[in-house]
């Protein structure tokens, strides 16, 4: 395995983790707002806040990790993506800022339960994946044009592209689906029957759209980037596994059985699809300008980064375990029996 592959795998793994934890976060905000809209807020708010409060900042770090890491391992991405993504990335930053600060301002600090805030928070959770996911479409090529030696983003091509919109819709449905499955499990753990039933319903509602749009994207790619499409076909078995895991999750949720396992299957489903997609993208970071080989950093830096990464994980994994043990797997905390915040 070459250093390039190690580098890109590490980043892809962190992007995957961000997708999962951020989906839970974004979706939870939306469900919270939706339940306020339908006057069911009393059912969900407690559960959602108990989960999100200690972890929202950690969620954010996964994102920072990804973009710092990609500049570190592949500095040329700064040139292509940095130059072209000024507007979409800035909008995403503003949305992230609204969410992060809302969390501290409204739920921790002043305890404002104004509906306007709740709706804004919920809506920003949907706009964020919508503003981040077009980057995946851009990486397929066809949207970044060169003006002399300077790249620019062809907004017209992007906004009229069915591929871009399919990816946006997929990200939205996936966010809601992932979040609903997780919260079903979490609410069940808390022994909260009403919240469990509500979240179970949402999980079943969003399962269909999520799988349909995911399939739709593969179809779109056939026309947009045939080279990529054919590599996806080579990996059909990985997508097949993903589909089986999906079926398993839906079955368990439907039968009200073992929500914990259902969530694990869901992670497995996204993991195999996400990695198969990543592998089929190989070797391009930006089709056709940038491969992982011509944009890779020098060897000394790559080795230094990998060593730092291993040392960092040595520190992080036990800490994350502690965090989960205290807040995710602690019965009294999950059930809301004790509120020990400062």
């Amino acid at each position: 395995m070459t250093l390039e592959i190690i580098g890109v795998s590490v980043l892809w793994l962190f992007l995957f983790l961000y997708v999962i934890v951020a989906s839970i976060d974004f979706g939870a905000g939306f469900f919270n707002a939706y339940s306020a809209f339908t006057n069911k807020q009393h059912i969900l708010t407690g559960i959602i806040q108990r989960y999100l409060s200690p972890v929202w900042e950690v969620t954010n770090v996964f994102f920072v990790f990804f973009f710092v890491g990609i500049i570190g391992f592949f500095p040329k991405t700064a040139f292509y993506y940095g130059t072209t993504l000024l507007i979409p990335a800035s909008i995403a930053l503003v949305l992230l800022a609204i969410r992060g600060s809302y969390y501290a301002f409204a739920t921790y600090g002043a305890k404002i339960n104004h509906r306007g805030y709740i709706y804004m928070y919920g809506l920003s959770g949907l706009l964020l994946p919508a503003s981040l996911s077009p980057v995946l479409a851009i990486s397929e090529g066809g949207f970044i044009q060169m003006n002399g030696s300077q790249p620019y983003l062809d907004y017209w091509a992007l906004f009229t592209s069915p591929l871009m919109w399919s990816i946006v819709v997929l990200s939205l449905t996936a966010v809601l689906y992932i979040s609903a499955v997780f919260l079903t499990w979490y609410a069940n753990k808390a022994g909260d029957v009403k919240a469990t039933d509500l979240m179970r319903k949402y999980a079943l509602v969003w399962a269909g759209p999520a799988i349909v749009t995911a399939t739709g994207i593969i179809y779109e790619l056939r026309a947009h980037n045939p080279e990529h499409f054919s590599r996806i076909l080579d990996l059909w078995w990985a997508f097949g596994i993903s589909f089986l895991l999906f079926a398993g999750t839906v079955y368990l949720i439907w039968k009200r059985k073992n929500y914990g396992l259902a969530f694990i299957l869901l992670v497995g489903q996204f993991f195999s699809a996400f990695f198969a997609y990543g592998v089929s993208h190989y070797p391009y970071l930006l089709y056709p300008y940038l491969t992982i080989y011509d944009s890779f950093t020098n060897e000394a830096m790559a080795i230094a980064l990998i060593i730092a990464f291993i040392a960092g994980l040595g520190l992080l994994l036990p800490s994350l375990y502690l965090l989960f043990r205290l807040f995710l797997f602690d019965k009294d905390y999950v059930k809301g029996k004790s509120d020990h915040h400062a």
């Binding site: 710092v68 890491g69 503003v94 992060g100 301002f105 002043a110 620019y152 950093t297 000394a300 994350l320």
Partner: protein
């Protein structure tokens, strides 16, 4: 829009984001240490007031951390969005500390979450205290790593350039550039000092407002002590920073001091305005610049005329330098007076005018932080990578930067106002007198809300 405009606009947006971020970042680095010390004193003295102090500081800290995190994320991404040419070049050499900074931040985020949500969960406060160590360490470490990145931009090393590409890169050598010791030490000391004075401001404000509670007096004395220690440390490190500049970035020091001719017996210029090459209305301290630069009153100090005109920083950085140094000196002096008066039991420090001066300390320290950073950043113009890459070569070619300035200015305005309103409400609704009474009631029986 021309390319020159884009460079200027990119600089303005970066300035805006960083100026806003460093207020929160400084507090984010300094306050965990203060919380840690308060909790430690509370455990040692078995005094609940200090524990409560730690708890109330922690509550406010969450608000500032949240804004610090989101603006930090903004500047992290803006580096690539606004300076893509710089990042693709420098990323080859300086990615390691950036990467490590994220790990430190990760570490801090995890333990901060645990610390904040486990109050009263442990029987023994000492166990809870242990959680603060990784928080404070993580905060300090991330400031160290990010300052290392900045130090590299001021004194690049650890690579060779061949046909515009970096070769023979040594990540460790690049991390430990000559600017690192003074910069890192100065950043840490000023962050601790500023946080101490900001917290002292709050205590003093409550006393001015008429509360006479012993809790605020304890808070004030503790923070003034800490403020004094770190102010003295800052002054000592500041002197070393002057020597560093004389050695490695003489043009920055020369521009800050309006020192044009290379000569010995150099005088230090305080305040004043520049008329051509002649400072007017300035206080001139003989030999002081030579002492600051080389520790020898007669030593020769390199003047600005040694540098080609297009490699000189703007001369107005002198005012920034003066602002920073004057405030730093004042705060060291002021806290010293306070401590002596406290020790001798002089009554004037409890007078209203003196309390108001104490209240001013926190904001003044924050102004000094801003002035100091503007000085160091503008002082390395026209370079983004001193000696290697000019700022004008590094900026984006995107022509929508002006819109983004408006977008982010609006965001920072909302976040700034939000911080003030939320903090104000949080403490207004729950003053310490009320919280103490509630806790006493809770101990007698019944639940704590």
């Amino acid at each position: 829009m021309g390319f020159e405009d884009t460079v200027l606009l990119s600089r303005i947006l970066t300035l805006l984001t960083l100026s806003f971020h460093i207020l929160y970042a400084t507090i984010g680095v300094g306050v965990p240490l203060m919380i840690m010390i308060a909790q430690w004193v509370g455990i040692k003295k078995n005094d609940d007031h200090y524990i409560l102090l730690a708890r109330r500081w922690a509550r406010g800290f969450v608000i500032t951390v949240a804004v610090g995190v989101v603006t930090g994320t903004a500047i992290g991404l803006q580096l690539s969005l606004l300076w893509p040419n710089f990042m693709q070049l420098a990323g080859n050499v300086i990615a390691l500390p950036l990467f490590m900074e994220v790990f430190a931040f990760f570490f801090e985020a995890i333990f901060l979450g645990i610390y904040l949500y486990t109050w009263d969960r442990f029987e023994d406060q000492r166990k809870h205290f242990l959680l603060l160590i990784p928080v404070a360490l993580g905060a300090a470490a991330s400031s160290v790593f990010i300052t290392i990145v900045n130090a590299f931009m001021n004194a690049p090393q650890g690579f060779d350039i061949l046909n515009g590409e970096f070769v023979n890169v040594s990540p460790l050598l690049a991390m430990f550039s000559p600017a690192v010791p003074t910069k890192v030490a100065h950043v840490m000391a000023t962050a601790f000092m500023t946080s101490a004075f900001v917290l002292a401001s709050i205590a003093a404000l409550r006393l001015v407002q008429g509360s006479n509670h012993i809790y605020h007096k304890k808070a004030l004395l503790l923070t003034m002590k800490l403020g004094f220690v770190f102010a003295v440390a800052t002054a000592l490190i500041g002197d070393l920073s002057g020597k560093y500049l004389a050695e490695y970035q003489p043009e920055k020091l020369a521009a800050a001091e309006w020192h044009f001719e290379t000569e010995g017996d150099a005088e230090l210029i305080l305040f004043g305005v520049l008329d051509g090459e002649e400072p007017k209305y300035a206080i001139k301290i003989p030999y002081a610049l030579s002492i600051l630069a080389h520790g020898d009153p007669t030593a020769e100090v390199i003047g600005l005329n040694e540098f080609p005109e297009d490699e000189r920083p703007p001369l107005w950085i002198h005012y920034l330098f003066d602002t920073m140094v004057t405030i730093g000196m004042w705060l060291a002096f002021f806290s010293f007076v306070y401590l002596v008066a406290e020790w001798r039991r002089w009554q004037f420090i409890t007078k209203k005018w003196f309390r108001w001066l104490t209240v001013a300390g926190g904001p003044l320290a924050l102004i000094a932080i801003e002035a100091g950073w503007w000085f160091t950043e503008v002082g390395r113009q026209p370079w983004i990578l001193r000696g290697y890459m000019r700022t004008s070569e590094a900026a984006t070619t995107s022509d929508q930067v002006d819109l983004m300035i408006i977008l982010f200015a609006g965001l920072y305005f909302i976040l700034g106002v939000g911080t003030i309103v939320v903090l104000w409400r949080m403490y207004k609704r729950n003053p310490v007198e009320k919280e103490l009474a509630d806790r006493q009631k809770a101990e007698k029986g019944g639940d704590l809300e």
